[in-house]
């Protein structure tokens, strides 16, 4: 465990010292929060409810987690591209130490990112005169834990399967599709038809739905329980897949 924590500490330092991390993981989501609030203030209240701050904040928090996926993939693929990992393979570190050392820092960053996003959303909500419920924000942050792990699992998998040039590109595609099918920038529920069916086939839709329901302190079966269960299942699947792939790749590298 000490070795995993040492690697965690290394990864946190590397990430916190990368200016791009702040731009993508914090700056961009916060800018979107402000822009979409301005859009919401400029259109009739009933027109697009998804931009109301109580719906926008959880959506933007999910959007931010997708950038954590990108940075996980970048971190893993960059380490793989050089001989740094090879040096670590020659030490007593195990695949489990390395995998934990990639997952734990990204999870910590994801929690901090969600806290900052909700703090900013709270300030915005006070400014526009519809203060967000603190209880709702805390519940939403808790509901975002499984989706954070799911996106980290995606990042780990992509970082193992692709190199440092192609992994970020692939993550960008996932970010675009995820924010679209997750219903972050439009109300997927109201579109109905084939579009809604497609959204429901992706885990992103359930991430947003669970976070928004928690924000509204609505914990009914359809709105919260079912979506969060699906996200938990996907998180377990993706973390397992990512970790398994890493171990397999490590064994192949040492073959």
């Amino acid at each position: 465990m000490n070795r995993a924590l040492a690697f965690t500490s290394r990864n946190i330092k590397e990430l916190l010292r990368d200016p791009l991390g702040y731009i993508f993981c914090l700056g961009f989501p916060l800018i979107m929060l402000v822009i979409m609030t301005l859009v919401d203030q400029s259109i009739p209240k009933e027109a697009v409810t998804v931009f109301h701050i109580e719906n926008l904040a959880p959506g933007v928090a999910v959007f931010g987690q997708m950038f954590v996926m990108l940075f996980t993939a970048l971190n893993v693929s960059t380490d793989r591209s050089g001989t740094f990992l090879m040096r670590l393979y020659a030490t007593p570190m195990t695949a489990a130490d390395l995998t934990a050392g990639y997952i734990i820092p990204m999870f910590i960053i994801s929690v901090i990112q969600a806290a900052i996003t909700f703090a900013a959303a709270f300030v915005i909500s006070v400014i526009i005169g519809s203060a967000l419920s603190i209880g709702g924000m805390l519940m939403s942050m808790l509901a975002l834990i499984p989706s954070a792990l799911m996106f980290i699992g995606f990042g780990l998998l992509f970082g193992v399967l692709f190199n440092e040039k192609s992994a970020p590109g692939l993550c960008s595609i996932i970010i675009s599709l995820g924010s679209f099918f997750g219903g972050i920038w439009f109300d997927a529920q109201r579109t109905g038809g084939v579009m809604l069916k497609i959204c429901k086939c992706t885990p992103f839709y359930y991430c947003t739905k669970a976070a928004r329901s928690a924000m509204a302190l609505k914990f009914d079966g359809n709105g919260f329980v079912m979506p969060i269960l699906i996200v938990v299942l996907c998180a377990v699947l993706m973390i397992t897949l990512g970790s398994f792939s890493f171990s397999k790749k490590m064994r192949a590298d040492l073959g």
Binding site: N2, A6, S9, R10, R87
Partner: protein, 243 residues
């Protein structure tokens, strides 16, 4: 006990035999160089000895431990400085060393003590708090070697340690490697003749995965019937090509 021993060590990648029936014995405290052109099998040999590649056949032992069946016993007694400078770029020199200490399970006091010792011994005081990515090639190699030395390994593997460095940085690194002689067994791979000549107690010339000649410089010159390592190397390589 021998520091390194291989018996019929072979590594094949599909149709390519990278290392072919290698028999090698290195005494403790020796600085032993594997000399050869690119693709001769030097790095693959080092990888097998460091538990980073599985031998297709044959056996490899480091300090009497089997590199395949007893990796957990081999890893704590070795240190490796890979061909590329394998350092964490956004960590400082000190942080890189502390990180390696923690991987080997040292407590905080030992981490600080060992890090301080190596920074002092390798003359890295002025760059100790600089991030690794801002260092010159020579400093990065020094840091890479320091990271390999952190666990006080009994066998140190230096894979092309001066590759791509300018002449001054190379000479400085030679002085560092010379200062380690006798304290730890060093296996050095290089394709620079003067480097092998300057530093080694014994040299093995590898050609196409096989050892074509082995011994001290004078022994190799005798085997080749030529004076100087470069001439001896050329003579041995030409003889191998004819066979």
């Amino acid at each position: 006990m021998l520091a390194v021993k291989t018996v019929g060590l072979t590594k094949r990648y599909k149709d390519l035999t990278a290392v072919d029936s290698l028999d090698l014995e290195v005494e403790q405290g020796e600085l032993f160089s594997l000399l050869g052109v690119n693709g001769a099998g030097k790095t693959t040999t080092v990888r097998m000895l460091c538990c980073l590649a599985k031998a297709t056949s044959g056996e490899a032992y480091v300090m009497g431990k089997n590199c395949d069946s007893d990796k957990a016993a081999v890893k704590p007694v070795i240190g490796i400085s890979p061909q590329d400078t394998a350092v964490a770029p956004r960590l400082t020199v000190r942080e890189n060393l502390m990180f390696m200490c923690r991987i080997y399970g040292f407590d905080k006091q030992k981490c600080e003590q060992r890090t301080g010792e190596l920074i002092g011994a390798l003359g890295m005081q002025k760059v100790a708090d600089s991030r690794a990515k801002t260092l010159s090639g020579g400093w990065k190699r020094k840091l890479s070697i320091a990271m390999a030395l952190i666990s006080e390994p009994q066998v140190l593997f230096l894979d092309e340690p001066t590759l791509g460095l300018d002449v001054l940085a190379r000479r400085e690194l030679w002085r560092l490697i010379e200062s380690l002689k006798g304290k730890t067994t060093i296996i050095l791979t290089t394709h620079y003749m003067e480097e092998a000549q300057q530093l080694s107690d014994r040299i093995a010339i590898m050609i196409e995965g096989r050892i074509a000649a082995i011994g001290t410089l004078s022994e190799i010159e005798q085997q080749a019937g030529a004076e100087g390592l470069e001439n001896a190397f050329v003579a041995i390589a030409e003889r191998s090509a004819q066979q």
